[in-house]
Amino acid sequence: MINKILIANRGEIALRIMRSCREMGIKSVAVFSEADRKSKHVYYADEAYFIGPSPSNESYLKVDNIIEAAKKSGADAIHPGYGFLSENAAFPDRCKAEGIIFIGPTSEVISVMGDKISARKKMIDSGVLVVPGTKEDIKSDEDALRIVKMVGLPVMIKASAGGGGKGMRLVRHEKDIISGVRAAKSEALAAFGDDAVYVEKLVENPHHIEFQIVGDSHGNVVHLFERECSVQRRHQKVVEESPSPLMTPELREKMGTMAVTAAKAVNYVGAGTIEFLVDDELNYYFLEMNTRLQVEHPITEIVVGVDLVKAQIIVADGGYLPWNQQDLLQRGHAIETRIYAEDPFNNFMPSPGIIKHITEPLGPGIRHDGYIYAGYEIPIYYDPMISKLISWGSTRQEAIDRMKRALFNYKLSGVRTNIRYLHRIMESEDFASGNYNTGFIEKNADFLLADAENYKELEDLVMIASFLYFRKQTGNNDNQHKEECTQSNWNNYAKQIGVNRL
């Protein structure tokens, strides 16, 4: 029985998990690095433990420190969130050895699905469609030429241990095959300590569509439909939506069934995501499995009406899935935008700093998963994502309209953000029509960075505000003192009370 959960993470996802814990009557335990003492997850939790210096490899990635905090606090379980230790194949075994429940899949599943070649093998053997290509490591130049010709140009050479675009090479011409393979191998070796690479046929400007699945330890697996994640910048998702505008009921049925097959192939327990590439002809291929809760899980929660974190906790505790496949339906449309502390108008330069003012957007159909507050300093050590804005509407159009409204109402200063950029995405014709793929950002680059309006009036008002501010600062402020005294009703009230007492 889980009564207390340590959340081995920080930021918005730590808070997100603690919220579900609180609803379930489960105590939450935060861990924090030096830079994070004032982070909201620390004071939201029931208990908090210091785990080391600011760089994540000395704190949030230090298994020993996290286990020690779990033992000290008496936590029964650890939730890894996303990132950090969530896909570290050794961590679940370590938790087990220490008698702590790991909220996620087993070490074995993480290592099978984390290695691209072994995942491909497993999927091919289970009858899941993968991108045409090989399931073996390329060992020699002759191998490379033979295999690439067999698969057919253009191809992607990918590192088996890969991720985040590292150890990946696009090869379009025969003359580039050997150099491409060599470059991918050396990059893979440097980044992951493993030079195994394999070949995949290139799917040109695909859609990136993923299916949420959850499995329990009694052999049940359900899918919770799709998320469209094609708005990406340098392999980083920026906007996600559900349902996908590309999807048909037949395709959804087929892909959902395949996602469940993929999860069952590894006896998956917990929440996971099956990522697919889909081309314009609606051919779909298994890409990879993420063996954790995804950043974009809220859009599924909102459209399907579930709490995925609660489901994770229930199944980790040995319970049955709270739903059958036929209970699950999609209702309306949800969009998520990721708010980053970065400056899109200066080459997306990260922008850490102190939050001066924040007005969080609220109102119908809006959910905001964040962790920052006025006066909080965004540390330089971690990811620049500061929050996620999620909108829901009964139609896709309403979800877009609400997202635009919420972005407009989201006032954040002290650091640069991509809020205007996200608003431009919502305004773009390709997004509005739902007719876009992973080439979206590149295709719309100029539009997304352009100024939409004429700023003359706004600029004048900015000057006026600056003028008034400077005037106040320099004390050149004719009668402000007098103004304040005469205008305060509290002062008048106090005077009146004083008089009445006599």
């Binding site: 502390a341 970065e342 400056d343 108008f345 200066n346 330069m349 990260p350 922008s351 850490p352 700093g353 001066k356 003012h357 007005t359 330089i380 050590y381 971690y382 990811d383 620049p384 407009f408 989201y410 006032k411 954040l412 200063s413 002290g414 640069r416 953000t417 809020i419 205007r420 608003h423 100024d451 700023y455 009036e457 706004l458 600029e459 004048d460 008002l461 900015v462 000057m463 006026i464 505000a465 600056s466 003028f467 008034l468 501010y469 400077f470 005037r471 106040k472 600062q473 320099t474 050149n476 004719d478 009668n479 103004e483």
Partner: protein
Amino acid sequence: MKLDIKINERIATVEMIENTGKTFKIKVDDQIYEVDSKEVKDGVFSILNDNKSYLIDIISGSSNKNFEVVAWNKVFPVDIIDAEAKYLMSRGQGTTGDDENVISSPMPGKIVKIMVKKGDVLKAGDTVIVVSAMKMESEYKVKQDSTVQDILVSEGDTIEGHQPLVIVE
């Protein structure tokens, strides 16, 4: 009171015409605005212009005469050009501290690598220093051929935004 205010390339004259206690009549170049302005928090102004509502946020920059002003999530770099600033400008000194000989990073971060030593002769475009923030590394280069005069930080140091890192000449 009258001030010259600069945003990007534009310099406008801003003048207080009247303070009625409830509204301000302020002239920006030739246009007169009558605005209801309240500072809802230090540096945060709610301005009603012709009943249109704006929230304008002033973030102090490197001196009390330059700000970054945020309105509708757009950032405006603002310089106040008062008599003192004009005097300094006439003597050929900038007001913004935008010194080509000082290499600095606009963002706080951590020094990953210093590529040069004191006395090194550099060509335009040479990388001087690498700063990392939020899992991203940025390289800072010299704009013209120069010599390294001084290095003010060490590898591993945590730095503030706009802090001088390397002096070249």
